[in-house]
């Protein structure tokens, strides 16, 4: 790409030089001049010039005010804004007056008040009084367009940001404008709830209090809360967020907009999922299992005594099951305690990492710039790392070619054969195109990635290491699986045998507590110490339960799927002390020096694995570390076992973990409507064979278990495969029989 040509534009007597083609609003901002806008939002596509707020006078154009958002900088352009042009001033004043003509006087009761662009712009450019003495147009209000979002049609100024988001960013086309003229209103088809992974973004886009989240209703005056910059910890993307906290409680989560990671969007799980902090079954005090009485609360002194006793009794036969939602510091502290303090080196890590993809590092925004993208894997991208799905859609809109290889992809493969498909890409037509392209991205969305090693082997073969525009991602299952694994490895270089018999199993985090493999291991352990947030996960099988904290309540770092280390900040006051605090105290009892402060722990850890970066270096908008030069061609780990193909009459069961699942989402009332419906996805061929129509209930059986589900038809699904969400698949075996 050649360097952009610079043009000189004069704005209100100020001259400024910008690259040719820059929008006029940005050009004015570069010159320090504000051009007010409502409908202009570059992330939503081309400017539409609908609201007429950005009217300016441009010399040489027809003698009427022009919408600055639709214009781009040309050399020699002379632009006058409301500051210096009466025509522009009257135009902007008129626009605000017209908006306010039908806008209800809701400011005292409207949640947007105080952070409302309409209020601010009216103050700066609008009329001070109203001349409207007639009845305003009214609507029934507020209307819940979903349990999480409420719509107030009277306040809507019809800037169309929400409909444009629904149409051309999340591409769900659910939010539309109906009727015409002054009766236009925003609605969903047949008033169905607005469902999808990204619906909450319209509450941030809306410039007035028309679309508001229902969770913090009436509790968010901007002068009453503080915004804490942090990072979301519910999926491996690690979107940057601003957590609005009031009096120590989280009220709302907004996007902080990291242009390389999330571009200002959040998925609904990250945005609305915070109320799991205040679930009813949250554990606030340590619990000890007492025979015949279940779990009883004990004090922290007693708990630490118990924990020390358990650790000593285990005599080195300790194993740790980690969740992947711990901060890197916490994982390191726990690892140091167990490995250096107790000499036990066995851990059940949430996933395999270290596949060697660091040589092919690119930021997520590289997806947008790519021309060819190959997505391999069994799981839909939107369920694993939702924001990546938005990047893919953006790339497709920009003209990129996206090839999906999977059971429901453009190239259909059987479940569990992703590694094979990955190797096949080394040759063939698609492979040769990947080899020659300067901007190609590979994405592995599913299990069996081997920490990304298969992708790394492929990428190395395709020559990606020399091309900065080419990269590869594998989408992990947990938010900080990589950070946790690297922290565990960094805690000690020693090795040790697997403890037999297992004396103590330390279960860290809710995901581990919910993992059936961990439960199975816990059966074999003599004792179990669990660190978890919710009662229902620990009850019944743990001997000592210590209350855990959430990513919103901790200072620390997470490593996201790009390999970017990002800082979390404590936004809410947890009901229990931070893990680092009591791990440090426990460590002291074993003569181990461990700091309770995240920054010091990070400093120690960073020396070993992050090249010595400090918290200050990470800053608020973390940079992606440089690529690690490729030393030797990476070897792929062994393939995961391929599930047996279905015999005649049966179908291969493809499970997937839906986005809206997990301990956190289960405890958020506003997200329950997003949980997957009890459905089974069938291919068109199988549906015809079974004589099943869309929506019909079917019986799904396998070896003793059976469950009733509703059939849906996915035309892209490979024949012989049925897909069911984890929540509903439960105990079904890998092959199932389906009948009406």
């Amino acid at each position: 790409m050649s360097a952009a040509e610079l043009v000189t534009v004069k704005i209100d007597e100020r001259s400024v030089q910008v690259p040719k083609g820059t929008g006029l609003v940005e050009t004015a901002a570069a010159a320090g001049v504000e051009i007010p806008v409502f409908c202009y939002e570059p992330r939503l596509g081309d400017a539409i010039g609908a609201c007429r707020m950005c009217l300016v006078e441009v010399e040489g154009m027809p003698p009427k005010p022009q919408a600055a958002c639709t214009l781009t900088a040309q050399d020699g352009m002379v632009v006058k804004t409301a500051r210096t042009s009466e025509m522009a001033r009257v135009g902007q004043n008129a626009t605000l007056e017209f908006i306010l003509v039908n806008h209800p006087l809701d400011c005292p009761v409207c949640d947007k008040g105080g952070e409302c662009p309409l209020q601010d712009l009216t103050f700066r450019y609008g009329p001070g009084t109203t001349r409207m003495t007639f009845e305003k147009r009214t609507f029934e209000k507020p209307i819940p367009i979903s349990p999480a979002i409420s719509l107030d049609r009277e306040r809507c100024i019809l800037c169309y940001r929400c409909t444009r988001f629904s149409e051309s960013v999340s591409e769900d086309n659910q939010l539309v404008a109906v009727n015409r003229g002054a009766q236009t209103m925003i609605a969903t088809f047949e008033d169905e709830p607005y469902t999808g992974a990204f619906t909450g973004n319209v509450t941030e886009l809306c410039p007035v209090g028309a679309l508001l989240p229902t969770q913090p209703r009436f509790e968010i005056r901007p002068w009453e809360f503080q915004a804490v910059p942090s990072v979301c910890g519910l999926c491996p993307v690690g979107c940057n967020v601003d957590v609005d906290q009031r009096e120590g409680k989280v009220k709302r989560i907004l996007s902080r907009n990291h242009p390389e990671v999330d571009e200002g969007w959040l998925c609904d799980k990250g945005r609305f999922g915070f109320s799991h902090l205040y679930a009813e079954d949250r554990i606030t005090e340590p619990l000890r299992r007492v025979r015949r009485r279940g779990l009883e609360e004990i004090s922290w002194e007693d708990a630490l005594e118990d924990a020390e006793r358990l650790l000593r009794e285990a005599d080195g036969r300790v194993a740790v099951a980690l969740s992947g939602s711990e901060t890197t510091e916490e994982a390191y502290a726990l690892a140091k305690l167990v490995r250096e303090g107790l000499g036990a080196h066995t851990a059940m890590l949430p996933e395999e990492v270290g596949g060697g993809l660091d040589a092919f590092r690119v930021p997520l925004s590289a997806i947008r710039d790519a021309e060819l993208i190959v997505v391999l894997g069994d799981d839909p991208v939107v369920e694993r790392a939702p924001i990546v799905d938005l990047w893919l859609r953006k790339a497709r809109r920009a003209g990129a070619e996206i090839v999906e290889i999977g059971p429901a992809g453009d190239v259909q493969t059987s479940p569990g054969t992703t590694a094979r498909a990955c190797r096949r890409l080394k040759t063939g037509e698609l492979g040769s195109r990947l080899r020659t392209s300067e901007r190609a991205i590979l994405i592995w969305s599913g299990s069996g990635a081997g920490g990304g090693s298969h992708l790394a082997a492929l990428a190395a073969d395709l020559g990606f290491a020399d091309k900065p525009g080419c990269g590869a991602f594998f989408l992990p299952e947990t938010a900080n699986g990589r950070g946790v694994a690297e922290a565990w490895a960094a805690a000690s270089d020693a090795e040790g045998p697997e403890p037999e018999p297992l004396g103590l199993l330390i279960v860290s985090g809710d995901e581990a507590a919910a993992n059936p493999n961990v439960r199975a291991l816990a059966e074999r352990a003599e004792r179990v110490l669990a660190i978890t947030m919710f009662h229902s996960l620990a009850a019944g099988w743990a001997d000592l339960v210590l209350p855990g904290t959430s990513y919103l309540e901790r200072d620390g770092t997470y490593v996201n799927l790009e390999g970017r280390v990002q800082r979390l900040r404590r936004a809410a006051i947890p009901p229990a002390p931070d893990e680092l605090a009591w791990i440090a105290q426990l460590a002291a009892r074993f003569e181990l020096e461990l700091s309770p402060y995240p920054s010091l722990v990070f400093a120690e850890l960073s020396e070993r694995i992050f090249g010595g970066v400090t918290y200050e270096d990470l800053g608020e908008e973390a940079r992606l570390p440089e690529r690690v030069p490729l030393a030797a061609p990476p070897t792929a780990s062994p393939d995961e076992p391929v599930p047996p193909k279905a015999t005649a009459g049966t179908l291969q069961l493809l499970r997937y973990r839906p986005l809206f699942s997990g301990a956190a989402v289960e405890r958020v009332p506003e997200l329950q409507f997003q949980r997957p419906a009890p459905e089974i996805e069938l291919s068109a061929k199988d549906a015809r064979r079974l004589g099943v129509k869309r929506g019909e209930p079917v019986n799904v059986r396998s070896n003793g278990t059976s469950v009733e589900l509703r059939a849906t038809i996915n035309k892209r699904l490979k024949g012989g495969v049925a897909r069911i969400a984890e929540d509903h698949a439960r105990n079904l075996h890998p092959t199932v029989e389906v009948s009406k």
């Binding site: 400011c107 005292p108 009761v109 209703r217 009436f218 509790e219 005056r221 002068w223 009453e224």
Partner: protein
């Protein structure tokens, strides 16, 4: 070196004369000097004539307060529990009187004439915690009242919201 001795003697003379003048001491609390009608004293929250509270919990008073002494937590009116006209009401409304500087900005900021500063100034308490006035205390009539000067004597229009509850 003293300045003009005559001026010094004049000063002493004034002081000497004061010894024989009657002191103008007002014996509080037996005599409480009437305050002017617009005296800014203890806050009051008002209701409409139909019993609904005027306060909608918009928190503008908290925003305007220079001493940051007002705490407002709003909640939604439900059909079963309607406290104020409109969508929301103040579920928690507290003013920390020990921080309040009685400037009257909250009264100016309120769009609904829900909070005004009344005339009572006898607010001493033994405990700092008792200085936090809750919504019930602010809605109720003040317990201790002070005399107020007759408004007719002064060119002071009394706003209607100060004269009825």
């Amino acid at each position: 070196m003293s300045p003009q001795p005559v001026d010094t003697l004049k000063g002493f003379g004034v002081t000497f004369k004061q010894i024989f003048k009657k002191p103008l001491t007002m014996q509080y609390p037996e005599y409480k000097r009437p305050v002017y009608p617009r005296f800014r004293g203890r806050h009051r929250l008002w209701r409409h004539q139909n019993g609904l509270e005027k306060c909608v919990g918009c928190s503008l008073c908290a925003a305007a307060c220079p001493a940051d002494c007002i705490r407002v937590v709003a909640a939604e009116n439900t059909p079963e529990n309607r406290v104020s006209p409109g969508e929301r009401y103040a579920r928690i409304y507290e003013i920390n009187m020990s921080r309040c500087i009685f400037c009257g900005y909250c009264e100016l900021a309120c769009p609904f004439d829900a909070i005004t500063l009344g005339n009572d100034y006898e607010l001493a308490e033994y405990d700092r915690d008792d200085q936090i006035y809750t919504k019930d205390m602010l809605l109720a009539e003040p317990i201790k009242k002070v005399p107020v000067a007759d408004a007719e004597l002064y060119d002071t229009p009394i706003p209607y919201y100060r004269t009825y509850s």
